[in-house]
Subunit: 165 residues, 2 copies
Amino acid sequence: MADPQSSTGLDDLDLRLLAVLVRQPGRSNKALAEDLGVAESTCAYRVRALRSRGVIAGVRVVLDAAALGLPLQGVIRVRLGRHTSDGVGGLFDALVRTPGVIEVFHVAGADDFLVHVAVEDAAALRDIVLQHITVHEMVSTTETHLVFERREGIGPLARVTGAAR
Amino acid sequence: MADPQSSTGLDDLDLRLLAVLVRQPGRSNKALAEDLGVAESTCAYRVRALRSRGVIAGVRVVLDAAALGLPLQGVIRVRLGRHTSDGVGGLFDALVRTPGVIEVFHVAGADDFLVHVAVEDAAALRDIVLQHITVHEMVSTTETHLVFERREGIGPLARVTGAAR
DNA sequence: GTTGAAAACAAGCACAC
DNA sequence: GTGTGCTTGTTTTCAAC
């Protein structure tokens, strides 16, 4: 358990490859290979392998909600009354399908869901709560928090590589 | 204010382009142009314009934390005692630099920060709280919530286009 | 703002090590 | 598992509309 590749089956090249890829997603395979000091074919092979193993889950295009006319973001804490398996799953589905919803966490504890949304103004935030969340019978209470700012963290990979930054 | 492009300066082609791009980030410019029924050069031009305007904030490579050996995710609610501008900014910086931290929300309300983390096990979760969060003098209390599941929402664009799905 | 065509570039593949 | 060369396809650029 003290081997350099932890038990995830990722060797040093994989980790370096992921580190570059996370920081520079647009990087071409050719440039990536040069950075790592391996042949392009090797690099392409590794990337494909990491994709098929699911280590690379995918690629996302990130839009600026404010530039889309949605300058307000909120996190809505949702607490349920009754907890049936079907009901929770159905509510989860409904939440992620609500326009403006960026992500939803199903969590343990007093609250059941944390819903991150982007909207045009305070009225829209209220409407999301009233029309898309509290309409569900199983929802007991909600608490809406304005998001001052959201920042991305250094991420999971830094924990594996031990990268300071 | 009732014009089709809302006041964001995005026309129908922009919105259709973004819709395709968000759903299929890997799509080539050529394929994208075909989907939209415009020339490749036009398509490339629009994408570049949306990037430089900041509507397209960027592209992210998403890693599977579990595949990296971090099967446990948590949301840590952080409440502060004293609130100085410098202190809050410094803590924010420290949080996003902590290995395993995926994203951090600075929010209004009783809590000040919501910290989304991925870790190897419960002990690592405790260590993050003790070694990276409560070590800061300004932190008053924390509450750690296990994440059962996290799902991405349909997103901001659906609010602008009115896409049902 | 949009286009088609040429030139530059990168990706994918089969094969050799 | 890694490197090489060829073929294919894609991105970029630009003068013109």
